[in-house]
């Protein structure tokens, strides 16, 4: 049988099944993976005590000195893995919601989902003395924010900037309530919570990252399942329905998934904004395709968050500045650029 293969695609023969792989997408995935690995090693090597990248690799391979082992495993790895997991989660969540709402600016960090998640964590951390970080509270707040948002905007796909402005007002509101909760406590009592609300990864521990990673891994099959109907949704609801997609079910599933993933990503290092917005944009720029696959968006999220984290640590030495401040500065510029570039799109 002689079927024609579209250009730019790899054909993979596995017994009887044939898999077509988008060449550009996979090359870019590989590129992002390598970048992430490099940044990972670089990130572990940076810190108050000097350590070369070679030493980092040796230590990770189990051949480092005792001191290096303690430095890597006890101090630096928790932070770096936290950044990777949070970045992956944010990239994923951003890609899901952007595709669902068909709006580049509609991401959990812009429309208040992250702020809702962090508010829940703050409230549980401040008012219930639990002894451990209440990361599990984050989906509650995120769901609350999402419900508020969708009650107010029934058809977000058709409302463009309106949806975003409402989302921003909701995040201002949650933010203010969070500040209110914190202002009832003296700063010494607040400790790391205050820095966490700006997006800080210095105090991340495995107790938080581990369960979140496990949940995210458990969600992966669902992601794979949803990738195809997600790709079909961009042709519009009617077309997707004709192509055999159960539209309301898929939409609800994507939304629920996105909120859960976004809130878990927030629970690690706080409400880091603009990563979820920027990651899918970078991914689609890399693939030259308006809709990049979820995994690539996730990788881009991790690379960007890691890059910001490294940047802020190098620039601010010896001080500890929250990573979220760097993403805010860089992301603000990106948003301005997008708004100016997108001149013809009025509301």
């Amino acid at each position: 049988m002689n079927t024609s293969i579209p250009s730019g695609v790899w054909r993979l023969q596995l017994g009887k099944a044939t898999v077509l792989l988008h060449r550009r997408t996979w090359l870019m995935t590989l590129l992002m993976l390598i970048t992430l690995l490099l940044l990972f090693v670089l990130s572990v090597s940076i810190g108050s005590a000097d350590m070369s990248m070679r030493e980092v690799i040796a230590t990770l391979g189990g051949q480092g000195s005792k001191l290096h082992e303690i430095m890597v495993y006890k101090i630096r790895l928790p932070r770096v893995t936290g950044v990777v997991v949070a970045g992956l989660a944010m990239g994923m969540a951003g890609c899901l919601i952007q595709t669902l709402v068909r709006n580049r600016l509609a991401t959990p960090d812009m429309v208040g989902v992250n702020e809702g998640a962090s508010l829940a964590v703050i409230v549980f951390a401040l008012y219930l003395t639990l002894g451990s970080w209440p990361w599990w509270a984050s989906p509650l707040g995120a769901a609350l924010a999402a419900v508020a948002l969708f009650v107010l905007c029934r058809r977000p796909g058709e409302q463009g900037y309106l949806f975003i402005i409402i989302g921003i007002a909701i995040s201002e509101l949650f933010n203010a309530v969070g500040e209110f909760a914190m202002s009832t406590q003296p700063l010494t009592h607040l400790g790391s919570v205050y820095l966490w609300t700006m997006g800080h990864f210095a105090h991340v521990s495995y107790q938080t990252t581990q369960p979140i990673t496990l949940i995210l891994l458990a969600l992966c099959p669902l992601m794979a399942l949803i990738n195809r109907p997600l790709a079909l949704l961009r042709f519009g609801d009617a077309t997707a329905r004709n192509l055999g997609v159960n539209v309301p079910l898929v939409q609800l599933g994507i939304l629920g998934l996105a909120i859960l993933v976004a809130s878990l990503g927030t629970a690690i290092g706080g409400p880091v904004i603009f990563v979820a917005m920027a990651a899918p944009i970078l991914a689609s720029w890399l693939t030259r395709d308006n809709l990049a696959p979820i995994w690539l968006a996730a990788l881009c999220g991790a690379v960007m968050l890691m890059g910001s984290d490294i940047l802020v640590r190098v620039l601010a030495q010896p001080n500890e500045i929250p990573t979220g401040i760097m993403t805010r500065i860089l992301g603000g510029f990106l948003l301005l650029f997008l708004l100016i570039k997108d001149r013809q799109w009025s509301d």
Partner: protein, 345 residues
């Protein structure tokens, strides 16, 4: 009937009188509440010149260093932000515009932080200069973007303001945390609070606010005519660029004054200017008078509330206003109120 030089419909006179009466009541309440055991009777006795009360050092201290400065600061800041919002709303023809939402507040904060950290500024005059520089930068960028985007996208301009706030806010937080200044004190100021106002600062800021008010009053007529569009205004002989520069200067001064006294306070300008436009949609001079009145009323009421909600702690008034203002913003956006300025009345 008394013939007046200013022509106002009766209902507007009535509203103005009610507002003024309410403001007086709030002023008294503001002087009578707060930390310390002194109530209304003692405070008014002090002002009437009761000998026994005049001799009370503690009462004098509370009045002169705590309650009076913050009450006066509330008037100055509320009025400034409200008039600045009215100016920006008509200059950008965007009913959601205000220094806070457009990122001008964040620019002023960044200017002040740079002055504080790199130039060791400690006086009110210094704060004023540096926050003016920051506010000017913010105004230039956001008004420039506004011109670039055109008037077709009021929501987009607000998003640009959000982006600008993120950049400026991120930079000032970065500078502050990297320099380990008194974080506790700054944190409260950065949320917007009147609690640290001083009488000396009020004395220095007042003339600047008055100058800006004068400038705003001069611009009113031209700005009103510019509502019809630039080409129409030019045909009527208005130098639109000159008016825009005037708006830029006035808004910068207002914002800088408010920031130097109380830190960034969002939403109050937007709320006041929005209500003022409901009262008087066309004539800008009347609109600004009402805007200033509402701004003072809202901020004073919010400040009294902020002292009272979570006693013995104090809530930053900016936070309180955000809790009130954000739902109002949502309601207005949902009702499509943001289009009202675009339709010619």
């Amino acid at each position: 009937m008394v013939k007046t030089a200013i022509n106002l419909p009766t209902h507007q006179w009535a509203l103005l009188a009610t507002g003024a009466a309410l403001l007086t009541a709030l002023l008294m309440l503001s002087m009578a509440t707060g930390a310390g055991v002194y109530g209304a009777a003692q405070v008014f006795g002090y002002f009437r010149g009761d000998a026994a009360l005049l001799a009370d050092d503690k009462l004098a201290m509370i009045i002169h260093t705590l309650r009076m400065p913050r009450t006066l600061a509330a008037l100055l800041v509320g009025g400034s932000l409200a008039v600045a919002a009215s100016l920006l709303q008509s200059a950008t023809r965007n009913p959601l515009a205000e220094p806070g939402l457009l990122g001008v507040n964040a620019g002023a904060v960044m200017g002040l932080v740079i002055g504080l950290i790199y130039f060791g500024v400690e006086s009110t005059q210094g704060y004023l200069v540096w926050s003016s520089a920051g506010a000017l930068l913010g105004n230039l960028v956001v008004l420039g973007i506004g011109l670039m985007l055109g008037q077709a996208s009021p929501l987009k301009l607000i998003l640009a303001g959000v982006a600008l706030s993120a950049v400026f806010g991120g930079l000032s937080n970065y500078l502050l945390l990297a320099n380990q200044t008194a974080l506790e004190q700054f944190r409260f100021w950065n949320l917007g609070s009147l609690s640290a106002s001083e009488l000396d600062a009020v004395r220095i800021i007042t003339p600047v606010v008055l100058v800006a008010l004068g400038l705003a009053a001069m611009l009113c007529r031209q700005l009103t005519l510019m509502q019809m569009g630039d080409s129409q205004a030019k045909a009527l002989g208005i130098h639109t660029t000159r008016v825009r520069i005037g708006v830029l200067v006035a808004s910068t001064l207002f914002t800088a004054c408010a920031i130097s006294l109380a830190g960034p306070i969002g939403f109050v300008g937007f709320l006041a200017a929005y209500c003022a436009r409901l009262v008087e949609p066309v004539k800008l001079i009347t609109q600004m008078v009402f805007s200033a009145l509402f701004g003072m009323l809202f901020l004073l009421a919010a400040d009294i509330l902020a002292r009272w909600v979570i006693q013995p702690f104090e809530m930053p008034v900016g936070t309180l206003l955000a809790v009130i203002g954000a739902p109002v913003l949502i309601a207005i956006v949902l009702r499509g109120g943001f289009r009202s300025l675009l339709t010619v009345r």
